[in-house]
Subunit: 477 residues, 2 copies
């Protein structure tokens, strides 16, 4: 890669421009979970398409239909942006997948800065969606821009396609169907799928070879026809909140054991090889504890901890809709309460089976209470886990690129979070996937004060440039 110094120089000299573009993108409140923010999501997709079009890409905004709301109404899904740079049949073709929607964020959740105003503090760029996933998407775009700018000396070494969506944070609604529909058209000549929607485990760069899936449930308990005064009615009605707490308390034991029959039995056993890999990974339990601010973790050795983060399922209760949630006091008996909880999926769990296991279990637990209230369990997200072969040439290319840019061997890691579409890409196209993260280990995805460091954003762009160079030298299928 003899022209590497030029490309590096190009990236370094465009740093401020990259940060400004990220600032423009973060300023759009593309929160896909909030229907009221849907116009912002549409605008975000338009901005993405515009950016790629201005670079000379062959760009389309693909209509993927509508989303049905719980009240029966429908709203348009954000269109999916596809783009193509280069169509040389002698070159490899990669398809970069990313998303530009974000998790909810409000200043009053405990952000130190306005979540939609990218704020640089000591080289960290704070803002909702900065790391998840706007900066990585932009880093791929800057990669293409850099090669284009230096076209005379080093042309884009592979054909690059993009699929950028706007519903990832709520389960990639509509994307599965679109991928299936484009299998024999847009995706037909793609050799590899590249995804950078995750982060490193430590300060050491990493390649990711697995993600957990996610089954997200609503458990709704409905009682009286409206909220009641707890003094006037308390003691005479069977309260939905009591029922809901009762059934939620049967999901998981204090020590983290999932109590839903069949879930633990489905999990693939931990192999000796895996155990050894986990042993070798750079991971400091003390710094992990201090980063999240707890005195004790669920497990106190590295292997158990990593295994339960990556390759075992877990249950989280996120919260309850319909109950009193404001500061202060209110003496209400909430009439209808909806718990939100999710179970992270791992091989060999199957979301369809999990849906039945959870529904049956909660219904049976609820039946034992003999409550007149009504329980309705629905699974609103059912995303499968994904697992790659770390011996695949794509990963060898990844190791070489990391070595070139950072001069270290990457950690081979899995991701506790979910990139719902990875499994679909694999199943539909039959092509191999690599996850090439550039986010930092402490970026605070989905939390208050999410950030992307300038270092990871800029060096990450260089990593992608190096990676395309490596991929160009893989044997064409």
């Amino acid at each position: 890669m003899s022209h590497a110094p030029l490309l590096i120089l190009y990236v370094d000299s465009h740093q401020e421009e990259y940060v400004q573009t990220l600032r423009d993108w973060v300023a759009v409140e593309s929160d896909s979970s909030d229907v009221l923010k849907r116009p912002d999501c549409h605008r975000m997709m338009d901005m993405t398409a515009e950016k790629l079009r201005a670079m000379g890409g062959k760009v389309e905004l693909v209509d993927i239909g509508v989303q049905e709301l719980p009240n029966g109404q429908t709203v348009d899904l954000p269109k999916v942006v596809t783009a193509q740079f280069g169509s040389d049949p002698s070159k490899q073709t990669v398809c970069v997948y990313g998303h530009v929607d974000v998790q909810p964020a409000k200043l009053e959740d405990g952000w130190a800065t306005d979540p939609y105003n990218l704020t640089d503090i000591d080289g960290n760029l704070y803002g909702r969606g900065a790391s998840d996933n706007k900066a990585p998407v932009l880093a791929w775009i800057h990669t293409v821009e850099a090669y284009q700018a230096l076209k005379i000396v080093c042309d884009l070494p592979v054909n690059v396609k993009f699929i950028i969506e706007g519903m990832e944070e709520t389960g990639s609604n509509g994307l599965d169907a679109m991928i299936m529909a484009q299998r024999d058209s847009f995706l037909s000549d793609v050799d590899y799928i590249l995804i950078s929607d995750c982060g490193w485990l430590s300060r050491r760069p990493a390649l990711t070879y697995g993600t957990r899936g996610n089954c997200y449930f609503f458990a709704e308990v409905e009682g009286p026809k409206q909220d009641l005064h707890s003094g006037v009615y308390g003691g005479t009605v069977i309260e939905p909140m009591t029922d809901l707490i009762g059934i939620l308390d049967t999901l998981i034991s204090p020590s983290g054991k999932i109590l839903i029959p069949g879930i633990r039995e489905a999990v693939a056993p931990l192999s000796d090889e895996e155990w050894k890999m986990y042993q070798d990974i750079e991971f400091d339990i003390e710094s992990y504890k201090s980063k999240i601010g707890v005195s004790q973790l669920m497990y106190n050795n590295k292997v158990d901890l990593l295994a339960h983060r990556w390759r075992y399922p877990t249950v989280t209760v996120h919260g309850i809709e319909g109950a009193f949630s404001a500061p202060g006091t209110k003496t209400v008996i909430p009439a209808k309460v909806i718990a939100k909880f999710s179970i992270r999926q791992v091989p060999n769990m199957d979301p369809a089976v999990v849906k039945k296991q959870v529904t049956d279990y909660l219904n049976s637990v609820f039946a034992k209470r003999k409550s007149p209230n009504k329980l309705k369990v629905t699974m609103v997200i059912g995303a499968k886990p994904w697992l790659a072969d770390t011996k695949h040439p794509l990963y060898e290319a990844g190791k070489a690129a990391v070595k070139r840019v950072f001069n270290v061997e990457p950690d081979l890691i899995r991701e506790g979070g979910t990139i719902p579409i990875a499994k679909t890409f694999e199943d539909v196209t039959g092509k191999s996937i690599i996850m090439l993260p550039i986010g930092g280990f402490d970026d605070g995805l989905h939390s208050q004060n999410e950030k992307m460091s300038r270092y990871n954003y800029i060096e990450g762009t260089k990593l992608f440039i190096a990676y395309l160079h490596e991929v160009a030298h893989l044997k064409k299928n």
Copy 2:
């Protein structure tokens, strides 16, 4: 009461004016639980004082100090309005207690109309605070106005004092001290305390001789230093929400049995006499069920149901602050969650003892979980129950007034809700109290679509007029 027809005519002919005043009062969002609404609370007290002053009352706005917020800051408490009409030592002196603060309400909670825009639908006046307690306070004011207007033929038969506060809905912060301070001044010549901060049990008018108290608790579980991504961290941390649900689930059994040791043991046993009184009360279980919209109640016979509504304690979990409570999905592990629950107090429970029982119990249950998270239990309201003697002449006067206006015998009932100050009035002044409700049984206090019917508002005013006439004939102490 030979001038009764004139007074009735006066009230009927001023109906629209009364409704308009109620509309003006409901328009003020005097939500005492929300510190941001404190200016509205202050304005509400000013409006109340102004109204009483315009009627020629001797009015004071009594400064009762400041409220300390959880963050250590302080805000001014709404002043208490005192007023006096008449000081004839040959007459009885009554003191009407009421409040003009309200529970929280937002259109999106499920109100059919704007909660702060009094809306007349088929003779029902919908609005937050309409029944609790603005219309009853106004009905007492209209009572004085009516006697004043007809002064030439029928002067105010008793001296009337008012104590109107603005913090009732959050525990009457500061009022206890003020009552104690005014025991030998403003309250020194008061013979009876009249309170109309409750409702009838059915369509039959009622006199209320007891209320439950309320101990309101916050149980806070704090874990990581900030919210975490449930994919990235789920399985490695002991989640505060799991702990909180676990301890909440130990408060009450599915059948409504309170599980906190010592609570049930403290309750006064149900006497045969009480049992008989309950038997005689007009109360239709089927219409109660259909009103609140449930197919089954906690008990299916009248006596058990009324007893558990009025004279047994109950636990309600109102909600959780700090968890995800919005519609849609969010894959968060909340870092700090605060459950809000309350226990209604009855004779012979003692809030100080209950505080210790609950705190000790939750701490012991939490300790068994061996969680590294931190639990903090605080009691933010501790209001005592109140119980009167139904043989007292005040109640005989009440029966006579009800008979005169409605031509029926009133039900003698208790109230499941709390009027925190009743017990204080009794303890400090040593005077007798009567609760004379005019609110309807279906007014939806603290719920969506709270209302006061025109019928109850107007006939209730007539009841108060008749009641003052009856009280005037009680033997002066």
